[in-house]
Symmetry: C2
Subunit: 189 residues, 2 copies
DNA sequence: CCTACCGATCGGTAGG
DNA sequence: CCTACCGATCGGTAGG
């Protein structure tokens, strides 16, 4: 048992916020998770809200990096869409705690921080709108597509993954990504 | 200002649980919402957990009723799918508080109640699996469709509606339902 | 539905 | 990272 780093504290906070929510996690709970007292956490961080901010910022960063990578993929809009879906899925499954906290606990941030999360989400969503618009223009997708609306629908599917997907289930990651990609591009018909 | 009924209390609890979450709502908050003291609520209900149970049960009931109605629609699997999408959307938009609480706060239920919510969700999801299976068999949908997976994707879109949709926005209810139906059946291509 | 409480727990601090 | 606290708030109760 060596001493905890500040990073350990933020990571553990992410796990508990993801599992029990921000309001459902006390500093004493977090201390117990790390093997120390709640009051001892204040030598690592200023307060509980700061922990939430840091966890949420990590989540936002992962997503934005993935979007930038996907937009850089050369080829058709369809290929970039597949890269977006693949990247999002990877982020969700590789960083579940930060992602869950980012997606579900942002309401517990103070006004200013909350606004910046909303802005970050909009920037991220814009990657989807951009690719959809490209595809509607160049003929990869339907010309009558409503890109902002379709972006919301696609992200709804993607963001829900962490709520139900289990790594040890019937569907592996590849099948998951392929399944989402096919529904998005071709639908059920 | 007449006295509050038990129904008023449950309805107000739904509003606050939906807005601030179960853990983020105190009995004193709820009392203030109704114009009385937190302690006075105990003449209407046994406790906070009971309020959550009742709000969640209302949400579950609305959804199951809508699914039963949609399954009773005669015609093609495609028509029943549209009825499912339409019904779900109506429930979400007409009963936002109960729906949000049902979808987001079920984790705060005790073990037994939580298990019964999970069972209710599975029963509801089964309506989607059934229609998808019908459609895959009778040629309305792709024969290689994975109905359980497609059901999750469709419900992901539907459940997310309450997170972003605004009644006074660019998209009216009809356009919303049509947009979701088209993405689900035809995709973006 | 209010008055007057209860013990428990909360986020956080002072000082080491 | 601990000891020893603080005031505030929590869900809930007794009695009216």
């Amino acid at each position: 048992m060596t001493r905890n780093t500040r990073d350990d504290v933020v990571a553990a906070a992410g796990r508990l916020f993801a599992e029990r929510g921000y309001h459902g996690t006390s500093m004493r709970d977090l201390g117990k998770e790390l093997g120390l007292l709640g009051s001892s956490l204040y030598s690592h961080v200023d307060g509980k809200q700061q922990l939430l901010v840091e966890v949420v910022n990590r989540g936002a960063g992962f997503f934005q990096q993935a979007a930038d990578d996907a937009l850089a993929v050369e080829g058709s809009a369809t290929e970039r869409m597949r890269a977006l879906i693949d990247g999002h899925t990877r982020v969700v499954l590789d960083h579940r705690s930060e992602v869950r906290t980012y997606l579900n606990e942002a309401d517990s941030l103070d006004h200013e921080r909350r606004a910046s999360v909303i802005a970050a989400r909009d920037r991220y969503e814009d990657a989807y709108r951009t690719v959809l618009k490209e595809g509607a223009t160049d003929g990869s997708f339907r010309a009558d597509l409503d890109p902002p609306l379709a972006a919301i629908f696609i992200l709804s599917i993607l963001n829900a993954v962490d709520r139900w997907y289990r790594e040890d289930g019937r569907v592996d990651r590849d099948a998951l990504v392929t399944g989402m990609f096919e529904l998005v591009t071709e639908g059920v018909s």
